[in-house]
Symmetry: none
Subunit: 223 residues, 2 copies
C-alpha cells in the first residue's frame, strides 16, 4: 500500500512518513507541489496526504490537478480555524481533512478509514514467498534464518520489489522510487545497492536465487 505525503515542512513530513512506515505502509515523500505531482504520476500511490500551505504551488492546486487524472483518496492537512480552506478542499475533491496539530495516531486512523472506504484496503503485504519484511525494525527475514538489518535505501528497494513480487521491476522505476529524482544516467547507484542487498539476503550472493537480474530491471523470485 503506497501513500504519498506532500508537505514542505520537513520535520512534519518526516514525522508523518515515519509513522506511516511504522504502520507498514510504503511512503513516498514530496516537499512541494510540483514534486508531489511528479511522484504521483511516477508512483500511482493508493492515497495522498497533502498539506495546503506549500510555497509555490498550493495543496489546492495539487489536489485539483490530481483529481483530473484520478479518484485516489486525498487527505488534506489544514491549520485550525481556516474554515473556508476546508470548504474549498472538499470542493476540489479532497476526501477528508485534518487540522494541525494532530497526533500520528489520529492520522493513521483517518487513513485507515479512507482506505477502507475506498475499498483499497487489504492488509499491507509485507511478505512474499520466503521473504518477510519488518518495516519497523528495518529488518528482513529469509525463510527461518535470523533477521538481517537493512539500511534505508536497501529497505526501499526491497519494499518496491516485494510490492511487485515475481514481476520484473524496471530499473527506472526503482531509481525513481528509491532516490526520487535522477532521471537518467545513475544506474551505478542501483547497481551498488542491489549488490549490497544481495550480500545481505542471498545465500550465495554470486549466484542470486531471490533477487534476479531480468530484462530491463530486477525481480524478486517468490516460488
Amino acid at each position: 500500500m503506497k501513500i504519498l505525503v506532500a508537505d514542505d515542512d520537513a520535520d512534519l513530513r518526516e514525522l508523518i512518513a515515519f509513522g506511516l512506515a511504522q504502520a507498514g505502509y510504503l511512503v513516498i515523500k514530496a516537499a512541494d507541489g510540483p514534486a508531489a505531482l511528479e511522484r504521483f504520476a511516477a508512483e500511482s500511490p493508493d492515497l495522498v496526504v497533502l498539506d495546503i500551505n506549500m510555497p509555490g504551488m498550493s495543496g489546492f492546486q495539487v489536489c485539483d490537478t490530481i483529481r483530473r487524472d484520478s479518484r485516489v483518496p486525498v487527505l488534506m492537512l489544514t491549520v485550525r480555524g481556516e474554515e473556508e480552506d476546508l470548504v474549498r478542499a472538499l470542493d476540489l475533491g479532497a476526501d477528508d481533512y485534518l487540522t494541525k496539530p494532530f497526533s500520528p495516531r489520529t492520522l493513521l486512523a483517518r487513513i485507515r478509514a479512507l482506505l477502507r472506504r475506498s475499498g483499497v484496503e487489504a492488509g499491507a503485504p509485507l511478505a512474499a514467498g520466503r521473504v518477510t519484511l519488518d518495516v519497523t525494525e528495518h529488518a528482513v527475514r529469509i525463510g527461518t534464518a535470523p533477521p538481517v538489518r537493512l539500511t534505508k535505501l536497501e529497505l526501499r528497494l526491497l519494499q518496491m520489489l516485494l510490492a511487485h513480487a515475481g514481476r520484473t521491476v524496471n530499473s527506472d522505476h526503482l531509481l525513481v522510487h528509491v532516490w526520487g529524482h535522477r532521471s537518467g544516467g545513475d544506474r551505478q547507484l542501483l547497481k551498488q545497492l542491489v549488490h549490497r542487498l544481495r550480500q545481505k539476503i542471498e545465500a550465495d550472493p554470486s549466484a542470486p536465487s531471490l533477487l534476479r537480474t531480468s530484462a530491463a530491471g530486477y525481480k524478486l523470485l517468490v516460488d
Copy 2:
C-alpha cells in the same frame, strides 16, 4: 498497444507522439480528419487521441464516424473554456477530454486510465497467432516452446511486427520505430537485426516461416 494521434498542429502532434513512444506505445500519426479515419481503418489502434480543431473535418466528425464502427476509447483535445465543445464531444461518445495546454504527464495518466477502464490495459502480453510477447520480461514464446529472451532492439522490432501481424511493415517504418533517428540508408542494421531475431524465433532460420521478407519490408505470418 497502438495509439492514433490526430492533430493538425505538427509540433503538438510530434510532442505527444514522442511522449507516448517513450512510454512504450506504438504511435500512429494523422494530420487531419480524413487521414485519421484512413489510418484508423488501416491500423485498428487501441486508443485514439483526437484534436477537436482540425481544418476540413473536425474532431467531432471523426469521432462520430469512428463511433459507428467501433467502441475504441477516444480522448478529445479541446481548448480551455469551450464548454459546449466538451458536452458535444462526450455526447458523440468520446470517453475523456483534456483541455490545452496540458502536460505530457497528464496525457499519459489519462491514457493509462482509459486503457485500464476499457480493459485493454497493458501488462497483458501482446500476442498474435503462435507468437506471444511478454514486454516486461523481454521474452517471446512461440507456440508452447520455452520462452526466449530478446534484446532491446529485437523486442522493439518484434513489437512493431506483432502490432501489424499479418501485414507487411515497411522497412523505413521499422527503422524509425526501432532506432528512432537514422535516415534511409541504414538497411544493413535492419538486415542484421532481422537475421538475429530469426535465429531466435524460427524453427529453421534459413527458411523463415514466421518472419517473412516481403516487398519493401517484413511481415509476421499469423495463421
